[in-house]
Symmetry: C2
Subunit: 145 residues, 2 copies
Protein backbone atom coordinates (compact mmCIF):
# COMPACT_ATOMS: atom_id res chain seq x y z
CA UNK A 1 0.00 0.00 0.00
CA UNK A 2 0.98 3.62 -0.46
CA UNK A 3 0.78 5.97 2.53
CA UNK A 4 -2.31 7.76 1.16
CA UNK A 5 -4.12 4.48 0.42
CA UNK A 6 -3.54 3.36 3.99
CA UNK A 7 -4.75 6.73 5.29
CA UNK A 8 -7.96 6.33 3.26
CA UNK A 9 -8.41 2.78 4.58
CA UNK A 10 -8.11 4.04 8.16
CA UNK A 11 -10.58 6.91 7.59
CA UNK A 12 -13.05 4.55 5.96
CA UNK A 13 -12.86 1.58 8.32
CA UNK A 14 -12.15 3.29 11.67
CA UNK A 15 -14.37 6.41 11.52
CA UNK A 16 -12.90 8.10 14.60
CA UNK A 17 -9.58 8.49 12.73
CA UNK A 18 -11.27 11.18 10.59
CA UNK A 19 -12.02 13.25 13.69
CA UNK A 20 -8.45 12.76 14.93
CA UNK A 21 -7.40 13.93 11.42
CA UNK A 22 -4.91 11.05 11.21
CA UNK A 23 -2.32 11.35 8.44
CA UNK A 24 0.05 8.62 7.30
CA UNK A 25 3.23 10.55 6.56
CA UNK A 26 5.43 7.64 5.52
CA UNK A 27 4.86 3.96 4.86
CA UNK A 28 7.56 1.50 3.89
CA UNK A 29 7.69 -2.24 4.39
CA UNK A 30 9.53 -1.93 7.69
CA UNK A 31 8.62 1.48 9.03
CA UNK A 32 5.79 3.96 9.36
CA UNK A 33 5.19 7.52 10.51
CA UNK A 34 1.68 8.57 11.58
CA UNK A 35 0.56 12.07 12.57
CA UNK A 36 -2.38 13.49 14.53
CA UNK A 37 -2.47 17.30 14.30
CA UNK A 38 -2.42 19.32 17.51
CA UNK A 39 -5.65 21.32 17.11
CA UNK A 40 -7.93 18.29 16.89
CA UNK A 41 -6.07 16.48 19.67
CA UNK A 42 -5.35 19.00 22.40
CA UNK A 43 -6.47 18.74 26.01
CA UNK A 44 -7.43 20.99 28.89
CA UNK A 45 -3.74 21.81 29.55
CA UNK A 46 -3.24 22.86 25.92
CA UNK A 47 -0.91 19.93 25.29
CA UNK A 48 -1.66 16.78 23.27
CA UNK A 49 -4.37 14.59 24.83
CA UNK A 50 -3.15 11.28 26.36
CA UNK A 51 -5.91 9.34 24.57
CA UNK A 52 -4.93 10.76 21.19
CA UNK A 53 -1.23 10.01 21.78
CA UNK A 54 -2.07 6.38 22.61
CA UNK A 55 -4.46 6.09 19.66
CA UNK A 56 -1.93 7.47 17.17
CA UNK A 57 0.66 4.96 18.41
CA UNK A 58 -1.86 2.11 18.15
CA UNK A 59 -2.72 3.08 14.58
CA UNK A 60 0.98 3.17 13.63
CA UNK A 61 1.54 -0.36 14.92
CA UNK A 62 -1.70 -1.77 13.51
CA UNK A 63 -1.09 -0.20 10.10
CA UNK A 64 2.53 -1.30 9.78
CA UNK A 65 1.61 -4.89 10.61
CA UNK A 66 -1.47 -4.91 8.36
CA UNK A 67 0.68 -3.63 5.51
CA UNK A 68 3.31 -6.30 6.23
CA UNK A 69 0.68 -9.07 5.95
CA UNK A 70 -0.59 -7.63 2.68
CA UNK A 71 2.86 -7.25 1.09
CA UNK A 72 3.82 -10.79 2.09
CA UNK A 73 0.46 -12.28 1.15
CA UNK A 74 -0.03 -13.58 4.69
CA UNK A 75 -3.49 -14.45 6.10
CA UNK A 76 -5.35 -12.95 9.06
CA UNK A 77 -6.42 -9.72 10.72
CA UNK A 78 -4.38 -7.63 13.12
CA UNK A 79 -5.76 -6.82 16.59
CA UNK A 80 -4.17 -5.19 19.63
CA UNK A 81 -4.11 -7.63 22.57
CA UNK A 82 -2.49 -5.43 25.22
CA UNK A 83 -0.34 -2.35 25.53
CA UNK A 84 1.49 -0.10 27.92
CA UNK A 85 2.47 3.50 27.52
CA UNK A 86 4.65 5.96 29.41
CA UNK A 87 4.10 9.66 28.95
CA UNK A 88 7.58 11.06 29.61
CA UNK A 89 7.06 14.70 28.67
CA UNK A 90 4.09 16.75 27.45
CA UNK A 91 3.64 16.94 23.67
CA UNK A 92 3.19 20.60 22.77
CA UNK A 93 2.42 20.24 19.06
CA UNK A 94 1.41 17.60 16.51
CA UNK A 95 1.56 13.98 17.64
CA UNK A 96 4.05 11.99 15.53
CA UNK A 97 4.23 8.23 16.11
CA UNK A 98 6.95 6.14 14.50
CA UNK A 99 7.33 2.39 14.40
CA UNK A 100 9.83 -0.02 12.87
CA UNK A 101 9.38 -3.76 12.52
CA UNK A 102 11.73 -5.69 14.87
CA UNK A 103 14.98 -7.39 13.90
CA UNK A 104 15.13 -10.24 11.40
CA UNK A 105 15.04 -13.16 13.91
CA UNK A 106 11.91 -11.99 15.67
CA UNK A 107 10.23 -11.11 12.40
CA UNK A 108 10.99 -14.44 10.72
CA UNK A 109 9.70 -16.31 13.79
CA UNK A 110 6.45 -14.33 13.53
CA UNK A 111 6.35 -14.99 9.79
CA UNK A 112 6.75 -18.76 10.38
CA UNK A 113 4.01 -18.78 13.06
CA UNK A 114 1.67 -17.18 10.56
CA UNK A 115 2.40 -19.55 7.69
CA UNK A 116 2.21 -22.66 9.92
CA UNK A 117 -0.59 -21.83 12.37
CA UNK A 118 -2.32 -18.90 10.65
CA UNK A 119 -1.94 -17.09 13.97
CA UNK A 120 0.89 -15.09 15.45
CA UNK A 121 1.93 -12.45 17.96
CA UNK A 122 4.40 -9.63 17.67
CA UNK A 123 5.49 -6.95 20.13
CA UNK A 124 6.02 -3.52 18.60
CA UNK A 125 7.63 -0.49 20.18
CA UNK A 126 6.32 2.85 19.06
CA UNK A 127 7.85 6.20 19.88
CA UNK A 128 6.00 9.49 19.99
CA UNK A 129 8.46 12.25 19.29
CA UNK A 130 8.50 16.02 19.04
CA UNK A 131 11.43 17.84 17.48
CA UNK A 132 13.30 14.52 17.53
CA UNK A 133 12.85 14.11 21.30
CA UNK A 134 10.93 11.10 22.62
CA UNK A 135 7.85 12.26 24.51
CA UNK A 136 6.02 8.94 24.98
CA UNK A 137 6.89 5.26 24.61
CA UNK A 138 4.29 2.69 23.66
CA UNK A 139 4.78 -1.08 23.68
CA UNK A 140 1.97 -3.11 22.16
CA UNK A 141 1.36 -6.82 21.79
CA UNK A 142 -0.33 -7.26 18.43
CA UNK A 143 -2.01 -10.51 17.48
CA UNK A 144 -2.90 -11.84 14.05
CA UNK A 145 -6.05 -13.95 14.20
Amino acid sequence: MQAKQLEQLLHQEIPITQALAIEVLELEQKNILVKAPFDQNKNIHNTAFAGSIYTTATLAGWSLLTNYLKINDLPGSVVLASAEIKYQKPVNGDIIASCQLPNTDELSQFHQQLTKKKRGRLTLEIAVTEEEKIKAKFIGQFAVV
Copy 2:
Protein backbone atom coordinates in the same frame (compact mmCIF):
# COMPACT_ATOMS: atom_id res chain seq x y z
CA MET B 1 -19.95 18.53 39.66
CA GLN B 2 -22.99 16.88 38.16
CA ALA B 3 -22.51 14.24 35.45
CA LYS B 4 -23.78 16.61 32.72
CA GLN B 5 -21.52 19.46 33.88
CA LEU B 6 -18.52 17.16 33.69
CA GLU B 7 -19.58 15.97 30.23
CA GLN B 8 -19.75 19.60 29.06
CA LEU B 9 -16.33 20.31 30.56
CA LEU B 10 -14.84 17.35 28.65
CA HIS B 11 -16.47 18.38 25.36
CA GLN B 12 -15.25 21.94 25.79
CA GLU B 13 -11.71 21.33 26.98
CA ILE B 14 -10.80 18.10 25.14
CA PRO B 15 -12.39 18.61 21.69
CA ILE B 16 -11.88 15.03 20.47
CA THR B 17 -14.36 13.84 23.14
CA GLN B 18 -17.14 15.42 21.05
CA ALA B 19 -16.25 13.20 18.09
CA LEU B 20 -16.10 10.17 20.38
CA ALA B 21 -19.57 11.28 21.60
CA ILE B 22 -18.45 10.75 25.20
CA GLU B 23 -21.28 10.66 27.75
CA VAL B 24 -20.88 10.76 31.52
CA LEU B 25 -23.61 8.38 32.69
CA GLU B 26 -22.96 8.58 36.44
CA LEU B 27 -20.75 10.69 38.66
CA GLU B 28 -20.51 10.35 42.41
CA GLN B 29 -17.67 11.27 44.74
CA LYS B 30 -16.17 7.78 44.58
CA ASN B 31 -17.33 6.33 41.29
CA ILE B 32 -17.97 7.17 37.67
CA LEU B 33 -19.45 5.56 34.55
CA VAL B 34 -18.43 6.90 31.13
CA LYS B 35 -19.82 5.79 27.77
CA ALA B 36 -18.61 6.03 24.17
CA PRO B 37 -21.33 4.89 21.73
CA PHE B 38 -20.56 2.07 19.29
CA ASP B 39 -21.25 3.82 15.98
CA GLN B 40 -18.69 6.59 16.46
CA ASN B 41 -16.12 4.17 17.88
CA LYS B 42 -16.19 1.03 15.77
CA ASN B 43 -13.24 -0.43 13.88
CA ILE B 44 -12.56 -2.44 10.74
CA HIS B 45 -13.73 -5.65 12.47
CA ASN B 46 -17.04 -4.02 13.44
CA THR B 47 -16.13 -4.15 17.12
CA ALA B 48 -15.15 -1.24 19.36
CA PHE B 49 -11.82 0.36 18.40
CA ALA B 50 -8.90 -0.28 20.79
CA GLY B 51 -7.98 3.42 20.82
CA SER B 52 -11.52 4.44 21.80
CA ILE B 53 -11.67 1.81 24.56
CA TYR B 54 -8.41 3.13 26.02
CA THR B 55 -9.51 6.76 25.67
CA THR B 56 -12.86 6.15 27.38
CA ALA B 57 -11.07 4.48 30.30
CA THR B 58 -8.58 7.36 30.51
CA LEU B 59 -11.40 9.91 30.61
CA ALA B 60 -13.17 7.97 33.37
CA GLY B 61 -10.07 8.01 35.57
CA TRP B 62 -9.11 11.60 34.81
CA SER B 63 -12.66 12.83 35.43
CA LEU B 64 -13.17 10.96 38.70
CA LEU B 65 -9.91 12.33 40.08
CA THR B 66 -10.53 15.88 38.82
CA ASN B 67 -13.95 15.81 40.49
CA TYR B 68 -12.39 14.50 43.72
CA LEU B 69 -9.96 17.44 43.81
CA LYS B 70 -12.78 19.90 43.22
CA ILE B 71 -15.09 18.44 45.88
CA ASN B 72 -12.29 18.40 48.45
CA ASP B 73 -10.95 21.82 47.48
CA LEU B 74 -7.53 20.33 46.69
CA PRO B 75 -5.02 22.08 44.41
CA GLY B 76 -3.51 20.89 41.12
CA SER B 77 -4.26 19.43 37.72
CA VAL B 78 -4.64 15.75 36.90
CA VAL B 79 -2.46 14.17 34.19
CA LEU B 80 -1.97 10.56 33.12
CA ALA B 81 1.66 9.48 33.68
CA SER B 82 1.50 5.89 32.41
CA ALA B 83 -1.00 3.16 31.77
CA GLU B 84 -1.45 -0.42 30.69
CA ILE B 85 -4.46 -2.10 29.17
CA LYS B 86 -5.46 -5.67 28.39
CA TYR B 87 -8.13 -6.30 25.80
CA GLN B 88 -9.63 -9.57 27.01
CA LYS B 89 -12.59 -9.92 24.64
CA PRO B 90 -13.96 -7.83 21.78
CA VAL B 91 -16.51 -5.16 22.72
CA ASN B 92 -19.47 -5.57 20.38
CA GLY B 93 -21.51 -2.53 21.43
CA ASP B 94 -21.16 0.72 23.35
CA ILE B 95 -17.98 1.17 25.37
CA ILE B 96 -18.76 1.54 29.10
CA ALA B 97 -15.87 2.38 31.43
CA SER B 98 -16.32 2.31 35.19
CA CYS B 99 -13.94 3.43 37.89
CA GLN B 100 -14.05 3.58 41.67
CA LEU B 101 -11.62 5.42 43.92
CA PRO B 102 -9.40 3.00 45.90
CA ASN B 103 -9.82 2.02 49.55
CA THR B 104 -9.63 4.53 52.38
CA ASP B 105 -5.93 4.00 53.28
CA GLU B 106 -4.64 4.59 49.77
CA LEU B 107 -6.95 7.51 49.27
CA SER B 108 -6.04 9.27 52.52
CA GLN B 109 -2.33 8.82 51.75
CA PHE B 110 -2.92 10.50 48.39
CA HIS B 111 -4.97 13.21 50.08
CA GLN B 112 -2.11 13.89 52.55
CA GLN B 113 0.50 14.04 49.73
CA LEU B 114 -1.63 16.67 48.04
CA THR B 115 -2.17 18.83 51.08
CA LYS B 116 1.51 18.63 52.15
CA LYS B 117 3.39 18.68 48.83
CA LYS B 118 0.74 19.94 46.41
CA ARG B 119 1.64 16.90 44.31
CA GLY B 120 0.48 13.31 44.39
CA ARG B 121 0.10 10.05 42.50
CA LEU B 122 -2.72 7.56 42.47
CA THR B 123 -3.20 4.31 40.60
CA LEU B 124 -6.71 3.72 39.31
CA GLU B 125 -8.18 0.54 37.87
CA ILE B 126 -10.82 0.97 35.25
CA ALA B 127 -12.99 -1.79 33.83
CA VAL B 128 -14.61 -1.76 30.42
CA THR B 129 -17.66 -3.97 30.56
CA GLU B 130 -20.40 -5.16 28.25
CA GLU B 131 -23.54 -6.79 29.60
CA GLU B 132 -21.80 -6.92 32.98
CA LYS B 133 -18.83 -8.89 31.60
CA ILE B 134 -15.34 -7.37 31.76
CA LYS B 135 -13.96 -6.91 28.25
CA ALA B 136 -10.87 -4.79 29.00
CA LYS B 137 -8.86 -3.86 32.09
CA PHE B 138 -7.01 -0.55 32.32
CA ILE B 139 -4.58 0.42 35.07
CA GLY B 140 -3.43 4.03 35.02
CA GLN B 141 -0.98 6.00 37.14
CA PHE B 142 -2.46 9.46 37.47
CA ALA B 143 -0.42 12.36 38.78
CA VAL B 144 -1.58 15.62 40.27
CA VAL B 145 0.85 18.43 39.43
